[in-house]
Symmetry: C2
Subunit: 299 residues, 2 copies
């Protein structure tokens, strides 16, 4: 746990990030009409750690799944993530002007175009999962669509955002805070793992262990996010720091203090590592390294 | 053409509308967190002519497709339509306060909740197409997801809305106006037909004829919409009348005048009827009646 990230992981990450970037650039076409393609590409390309795509790809490698399906699933998950950021940044939501160190999409292209770009990115995510040329088995396409839809919708990300909106100024306890984050950020992070697994047909116990890994990694990600919101500066984060506290939103830090939040992040990551061990899969080094990476990230 | 709509069609329509209404009420659950379910249901239930679902169901009946798949596809298409209205009505888009005779979603629930409700409705549309309990063949689920994603995204509805936004005050010629509407409203209306067809496996020539029917019906729908925008009042329409002219948006009426627009609607509907004849399908009376209904609608 928390071992120094090996060079091999850094090399894997760089190679896979480049692969994802190229695929996203191919899939998100510039020729969508009236500037929509430009806004969509601005929202998606050249930014972000690509944690979700990396989770899809690493899980695919761990289960020996189909690489072509995994690359599409990786891009689909990232498109859902990207669209949620575009809508989240809009004035009626978080009203944020800075994202990944650049003006947010609505600042750059206007609110109407940002709204449409987000909507079109969500549709494109599902389109990617069903290539239409029979290159992926229908059963795999269907399962990937279902996992993504559940993670993105009212029982997942969108529902979590609704809870988040309703929680401003309210003293949530830890179970309530975790339930909110399980939906808001956890569902899509976990889906990155379960979709990676769905590029093969691992045994149910393996699927369950991987889903558990994804759930704990998702929770740890959010705890670390709350820690960074108070400890990092905006330049490092590439987005506005301190905004949760400013918005009077409940966070793990406001709930348990900085030191205990850090200890909690470590404990949750330990559970993610333990779930991976339980999977019995032989090649999980990259997934272990991704969990460490989540714990050690500084932005 | 333009025959009096027979009682049998009115009875069919009422029965199917009730079936769709019940299914939507079952699928769009009230228990989504923090009021999100309530906003989603408000956006979807108890309103609208359900033209798109009726097209799905009638096409399914014409090709002898699976009724369970068609009902899910009908609801999925309607959810996409409903979410587009929610987002379209928002202040950054059309800024409309009245829809189907009720306050729009953002007026009733706030802009942030309206944005999230729309987002969640889109995800739910895809979820419906992949039940997850193996009741639908995977190939059918996958094909339905692809057709819906293409119709909703940058090459379809969202792209058409982007063109629409960019067209305010611009003198589009008829080909440009038709290209815009082919995406904005035509793609989803056509998808209602092609998704209905995808509940069976009709021959390619039949699929092509049905797709052509859907394309012409979609165009006619928009021409009639433009006519109603200048000839109907807000109470009858259930939405703000005259808003296209007020917004200086190009319409078929502004382009060709009222009388010629009416003649054009009739001519396009005749092509829809002709495409149905070309399909060679024996049971197309309901689809013919739906085309007549589009031509004769007053709201």
């Amino acid at each position: 746990m928390n071992a120094v990230i090996p060079d091999t992981f850094a090399a894997w990450r760089a190679a896979r990030q480049a692969e994802v970037e190229q695929a996203l650039s191919r899939f998100v076409r510039a020729d969508a009409p009236a500037g929509l393609g430009e806004a969509m590409r601005y929202a998606v390309l050249d930014g972000g750690k690509r944690l979700r795509p990396l989770l899809v790809l690493a899980t695919c490698e761990a289960v020996g799944g189909r690489a072509d399906a995994a690359l599409r699933a990786a891009c689909a998950v990232e498109l859902i993530h990207a669209y949620s950021l575009v809508h989240d940044d809009m004035p009626c939501m978080d009203n944020d002007v800075l994202r990944r160190g650049k003006p947010t999409v609505h600042v750059r292209f206007g609110e109407a175009q940002a709204l449409l770009a987000g909507d079109a990115l969500q549709a494109l995510a599902f389109e990617l999962l069903v290539p239409g040329d029979a290159t992926l088995p229908d059963a795999m396409s269907a399962r990937l669509c279902r996992l993504l839809a559940l993670a993105a919708g009212a029982d997942g990300m969108a529902g979590g955002q609704a809870v988040d909106l309703a929680s401003v100024g309210i003293a949530l306890d830890r179970p309530a805070l975790e339930a909110m984050h399980r939906r808001k950020t956890g569902a899509l992070l976990q889906a990155s793992v379960t979709m990676g697994a769905a590029t093969a047909s691992p045994a149910p116990a393996v699927q369950a262990a991987l889903a558990d890994y994804g759930a704990h990694l998702g929770l740890a990600f959010q705890v670390v996010d709350d820690i960074l919101d108070v400890t990092a500066d905006s330049a490092t984060l590439g987005k506005t720091a301190g905004k949760d506290a400013a918005a009077d939103k409940p966070t793990f830090v406001s709930l348990m203090g900085l030191a205990e939040a850090q200890a909690y992040a470590d404990a949750v990551l330990a559970q993610a590592h333990a779930a991976l061990e339980r999977s019995g899969l032989p090649h999980t080094a990259t997934l272990h390294a991704l969990a460490d990476w989540v714990g050690q990230r500084r932005s």
